[in-house]
Every structure is written in structure tokens, then in C-alpha cells.
């Protein structure tokens, strides 16, 4: 084995086995339904055919595995400072990565890899899912050497060291959140999410209760009427009151568990946050890494003079898919002065709202249409599932219509984009009014979109892609959107500032 990566080379020879295992796994994963069906429907005289078929499948995977191994090469282009990886049997891919863009190199070992004695080497850049750039079979010595070579060019290691040193240096407490404030946060936030959670919980409870009763062979009709009586107008008031108390209680407890003893400390350039009742969580926040800063406030919070802040950092796709907010750092219940202080640290100055851009009234039409369509779908579903008498839903429909029209109206009223030279601020939300702040140089790419029926009315959509997710502005004036896009492109393309 040469220790020179400048010429294209294959994986370890034992890699054939890994490739074979991978192929087999993906085939089984793609075809497990028909495979199971065949196995279950099998008659004795068909054993031979199925056995032969299975043998053929194994043979095929072996061949594919071998070809995959043959076609998988990687090399390091010293001159261009690139790592180039070619792979694929029928569909061929060639991926080139600038060494300076590599963020992380992971060396892992699965069970099969352990048996054979090879490792996998995954390369992570800010833009990829991990599976894309992965060498599946490489021996340890080579893997370590390659990792060293790959990371040699960047200065990632030193960056991490810097951060560690900063922790030890002088610190000063910057923000502390009292129990009083936490209580206020608890009773004012997250209504929507908690109610949705409770409803799903209630539905599952109702279902399992019904199932339990039907297994005990009690007359189902009786139970249904009990439920109907229970959901009558008189007890509905008590039910809603109880629900409200429950929502508040859950929220208070959750807020206390999550943000107990919230302390924010300023250390040179970064912020350190410690919080948590059972598990103390320690988070380091580097202002340069924050992509989207947002703060939100609802009517009650306005009265209490508190607001929630959120700092979203760059995250890989995997994180985005799994838990949406895992890379967001939350500051519950700070006041306006504290918010401004935090904004100053993260953005350099307090962002001012620039020129305002509003949505077209078509936003209202679209929202109303979707709300009505949703209602119609639910009602049809209820109608066909034959749950009770449809007339009992009339008051519910009325409540829904009142609520949704309020939500739509205020949502429209608050939907706006503010742009100035340094900041893009998007305001949105019907109840929790959120301001999302982006610095133009944090934009990764921009999408402008227009449906053909909006052409004559000059309406269109805008999506700003950042490393922490998308921010969109819908139903805006398309002429303005185009102007803004050109302006932001100009800013991104001339900016010397790093986005991370």
C-alpha cells in the first residue's frame, strides 16, 4: 500500500466485502416488502425456484459489489488542493472538494468493518449529507494519514484551540434569568404546540379507551353516548378551562426544567450559556457562527415586557431533518435592553428596520383557501368515518372559522420584510410575532419564484437560503423582489466577510 494520495487509488481489497454488504443491505431495504410477500405466499413446490432466485440475487450483489469496488477511486490533487472521489457502476459520480472547505473528517467502524479490520472515513463539508463523501473501507494507518493530510490545509484545529483558551480567560456574567421571569415565560409561550400535543394525546387516549372497552365486549354504543354527553355544550366550558390550566402547568414545568438557572456569560468574543434543572447544559455561542437571529413576542409577553430570543447556527442537513431546533440557542424572557445588548454582541450593532416590503392581498386569499380546504377535508373524513352526529360539530366549525380568520388577518398584518444596507429583517406570525434577522453576507443562495398566474399582477415569492435554514417572503411585489435579489447578490459577491 502506497502512502501517497496523489494518484487515484482504490479502497482496501477487503473493501469488496463491504461493498457487497452495502449493496445487499440496500437491495434488501428496497425490496423487503415483495421479498416478505414471496416468502409468506410460498408453496412447497416453489422452493427450488425461489432458492435459485435468491442465489441469483446474491451472485448479482457480488458482481455489483466488485464493480463498485473497482470503480471507487479517490485521490488528492496537491496542485489544485482538491480531494477527488469517483464512484458508481451504472450511474457514475465524480465529486471534488476543496481541502479548505472540509470541516470534519470522521473515522468510524461498523460491526462488519470491525470483523474485516477496516475503517470508514467520512468527509464533512458545510453543504453535504454525510453519506455522499464516504470511503467505506480503508485501513487504519491510511485513514489516519489521509485525515491528517485532508485537515492539514485548513486551520480548523487551531480554531478549536482558540475557543478552549477563551473559556479559561476572564468572564463576566451578562444575563441572568430569574424564577419570576421563567414563570412569566411559562405562562405566555408555546400555546399552540402544547395544545396540539394535548389533542393528539387525547385522541390516542380516546382510541385506546375504546379499544380496551371493545375487547371487554361492552356495548360500544353506550360508551359513545357517554362520550357525546361528556362533550356536550355544558361540560365543554369546564373542559376548555381544564385544558387551559393543563397547558399552562405543562408549559411552566417545561420552561423551568429547560431554562432553570439560566446564565449567560460573555467571554471575549463569544457567549457561554448554562441552563437546565436536571442536566446542566453548557453551550458556547460564537457570534460569527450565528446565521439567523430572531426574537419573538406575543400579546401577553408584550404586557409582561419579555421576549424570547433564538440564535440559529449553521447545521448539517442531518441535523435539520432530525430535530429542527437542535442547533438553535434559545434565550427565554429577556427584556428589550437585554435583547439589544445580545444583538449588539452577535450582529455588531442594533439592527434597524429599513425599507418595508409588504405582501400582496393574494396572501389572504391563499391562506383562506387553504384553511377552508383543510376544514372541508376534515369534515369529509368525519362524515365517512361515521363518528356521531354531524350537527355537534357546528359550534366547533364556528369556533374554528373565528380563530382561523383572526390568525389569517393578523398573520397578514404582521407579514413584512425590512431591508437596509446591513440587515434583512422578516416579521411574521399571528400570535407570536417573530422578527428574523439575517445579515446579507450570511446568505448562501437566493431563489426567486413566480407562478404564471401571478405574472400579470407582478406577485412572486422569495427564498433566502442560509446555513441555518431558509427564510421566505411570500406574495411580495416581484419587481421589488428582483431588485432586492440583485442588491443582495451584489452584497454577497463583493463582501469580504466570511459567513462562518
Amino acid at each position: 500500500m502506497r502512502l501517497d494520495f496523489t494518484t487515484p487509488q482504490r479502497q482496501s481489497v477487503t473493501g469488496i466485502i463491504i461493498m457487497f454488504a452495502d449493496t445487499f443491505q440496500s437491495i434488501v431495504r428496497a425490496m423487503w416488502v415483495p421479498l416478505l410477500l414471496i416468502l409468506f405466499k410460498l408453496k412447497e413446490d416453489q422452493y427450488l425456484v425461489v432458492g435459485l432466485g435468491f442465489f441469483g440475487l446474491v451472485l448479482l450483489t457480488l458482481v455489483i459489489g466488485y464493480l463498485k469496488y473497482r470503480n471507487f477511486t479517490f485521490f488528492l490533487d496537491e496542485e489544485k488542493q482538491e480531494f477527488v472521489l469517483s464512484k458508481g457502476v451504472i450511474n457514475k459520480s465524480k465529486i471534488s472538494i476543496q481541502l479548505s472547505k472540509i470541516q470534519q473528517v470522521d473515522i468510524n467502524q461498523s460491526i462488519i468493518q470491525k470483523i474485516i479490520g477496516v475503517y470508514s472515513l467520512d468527509i464533512d463539508t458545510a453543504g453535504t449529507d454525510k453519506k455522499e463523501i464516504s470511503i467505506r473501507a480503508i485501513d487504519q494507518k491510511l485513514a489516519l494519514l489521509l485525515k491528517e493530510r485532508l485537515l492539514d490545509y485548513g486551520d480548523k484545529e487551531s480554531e478549536i484551540l482558540d475557543e478552549n483558551q477563551e473559556i479559561k480567560s476572564d468572564t463576566k456574567t451578562f444575563l441572568k434569568i430569574s424564577y419570576n421571569t421563567l414563570f412569566k415565560v411559562g405562562i405566555t409561550s408555546n400555546y399552540g404546540r402544547t395544545i396540539a400535543l394535548l389533542i393528539t394525546f387525547a385522541i390516542t387516549l380516546y382510541q385506546s379507551f375504546k379499544d380496551a372497552i371493545s375487547t371487554f365486549e361492552i356495548d360500544e354504543k353506550q360508551v359513545d353516548t357517554v362520550f357525546e354527553r361528556g362533550a356536550g355544550f355544558f361540560s365543554a366550558g369546564i373542559l376548555i378551562f381544564g385544558l387551559l390550566v393543563l397547558v399552562l402547568l405543562i408549559n411552566i414545568v417545561r420552561t423551568f426544567i429547560k431554562h432553570f438557572d439560566f446564565v449567560m456569560i460573555k467571554q471575549k468574543q463569544s457567549l457561554v450559556i448554562t441552563a437546565g434543572l436536571f442536566a446542566k447544559k453548557n453551550t458556547l455561542l460564537n457570534p460569527d457562527k450565528v446565521q439567523i437571529t430572531s426574537y419573538s413576542q406575543n400579546y401577553f409577553q408584550k404586557k409582561f415586557r419579555i421576549l424570547d430570543m433564538n440564535m440559529k447556527q449553521a447545521s448539517s442537513d442531518e441535523v435539520k431533518e432530525q430535530k429542527k431546533k437542535s442547533n438553535a440557542i434559545e434565550v427565554p424572557g429577556c427584556n428589550t435592553e437585554e435583547r439589544d445588548e445580545i444583538l449588539k454582541i452577535i450582529l455588531g450593532k442594533i439592527p434597524e428596520k429599513g425599507a418595508q416590503y409588504r405582501s400582496n392581498f393574494r396572501y389572504l386569499i391563499f391562506r383562506t383557501f387553504s384553511a377552508v380546504a383543510f376544514l372541508a377535508a376534515i369534515l369529509t373524513l368525519l362524515h365517512y368515518s361515521e363518528i356521531g352526529n354531524m350537527t355537534i360539530y357546528i359550534p366547533l366549525v364556528f369556533v374554528y372559522l373565528c380563530l382561523i380568520s383572526c390568525l389569517i388577518y393578523f398573520g397578514y398584518k404582521n407579514h413584512a420584510l425590512y431591508v437596509n444596507q446591513d440587515f434583512i429583517i422578516k416579521r411574521h406570525g399571528a400570535w407570536d410575532v417573530e422578527h428574523e434577522i439575517i445579515e446579507p453576507h450570511k446568505i448562501q443562495s437566493i431563489t426567486a419564484k413566480q407562478y404564471f398566474w401571478h405574472k400579470s399582477s407582478d406577485v412572486g415569492h422569495l427564498i433566502l437560503h442560509t446555513a441555518a435554514g431558509d427564510v421566505d417572503f411570500r406574495f411580495g411585489n416581484f419587481t421589488h423582489i428582483k431588485q432586492l435579489v440583485n442588491y443582495w447578490l451584489y452584497q454577497v459577491e463583493t463582501s469580504k466577510e466570511n459567513w462562518m
Partner: protein, 172 residues
């Protein structure tokens, strides 16, 4: 410093909406036809198996139902693909790459070169028959913003990729 000053500039900036776009290679539609044919074949086999193994489906009414839906599906696939391919186009400017697509909408994504993370080139089995390739461009914006441009001649794709990598390198 204030925004009013910038508004004048806005109209003088290069306009992305006026850039001349180049469409995909003419042969690419053939690759799409082959793909549609394969999809339709698989669907046909699926329906055939469904009818063959379930005796309650073996009557004229069901045949008619499946037949009509199949034809509608095939026509829909055919015409929507033609429109989709026709409307896809890309352009390369000095400092960014633009990609336009959409059937009902016109969606333009613009990626500045200094935000591109890396580039991949894919060659499908059928694309190779017509010497075509696909370029995939990654930014840190995640999968919603990654751009895949299919149906470019292989040599051209190669040179675009080379050019993009060069641009990335020059920024450091």
C-alpha cells in the same frame, strides 16, 4: 449610508432576470423519454401483477378503470416532462451561477461562487449514451438550495466543474 441612497443603485446593478439563459442539450429529452418509459413499464408490471393475483379485479370495469388511469398518468407524465425540460435553463455569470426551472412557476436559484462548497458530476447510464452529464452544486444552504443541472454535454460539464473549482480556490 441610509437605504434611500441605495435605491438608486438598485436599478444600476446587474439584473439576474435579464441574463441570457442557455437551455439543456436537445438530446436530454430522449434520456427523459427513456426514464418515463421505464417508470411506465414498472407501473404496468405492478398493475398487471395486482390484477393477476387478485381474482376480484378480473372484470371489465376494473380493466377500464386501470386502463384509463394508466393512459392519463402516462400522458400527464409525458407532457409535464416535456414542459419541465423545456423550461430548465442555466446561466453562468462572472460571479454566480443561475438555474431556472419550474412547470407552473418560474423558479430561479442564484448561487454566488463564493458560497459554493463543492461540486459533483454525475453520469447516468442513459445520459452516457448521449454523452450527457449532470452537475450538482452544493452550498451550506442545505438540500433545499442545492442545484442539480442535468443534460449538459459531458465536456462542457467537465469544464464548468473545473471552472467552479477554480473560482472556489481563488477565494481563499
Amino acid at each position: 449610508m441610509e437605504f434611500t441612497n441605495e435605491t438608486i443603485d438598485l436599478n444600476q446593478l446587474p439584473k439576474f432576470e435579464e441574463v441570457p439563459f442557455s437551455s439543456l442539450n436537445k438530446n436530454y429529452i430522449k434520456v427523459v423519454y427513456i426514464n418515463i418509459a421505464i417508470v411506465l413499464l414498472i407501473v404496468a408490471i405492478g398493475i398487471g401483477a395486482l390484477i393477476y393475483f387478485n381474482e376480484e379485479f378480473q372484470d371489465t370495469q376494473t380493466y377500464l378503470f386501470f386502463g384509463i388511469s394508466y393512459v392519463v398518468f402516462a400522458l400527464f407524465l409525458y407532457f409535464s416532462s416535456i414542459i419541465a425540460v423545456k423550461r430548465r435553463a442555466f446561466a453562468i455569470r462572472e460571479k454566480d451561477i443561475l438555474y431556472k426551472r419550474g412547470i407552473l412557476s418560474t423558479t430561479t436559484t442564484i448561487m454566488p461562487f463564493n458560497r459554493i462548497q463543492h461540486v459533483a458530476m454525475h453520469e447516468g447510464a442513459f445520459s452516457r449514451i448521449y454523452n450527457l452529464a449532470q452537475i450538482q452544486i452544493f452550498t451550506a444552504g442545505g438540500s433545499t438550495s442545492d442545484v442539480k443541472i442535468s443534460g449538459i454535454e459531458k465536456e462542457k460539464a467537465e469544464s464548468i466543474k473545473e471552472m467552479l473549482m477554480q473560482k472556489i480556490q481563488n477565494q481563499i
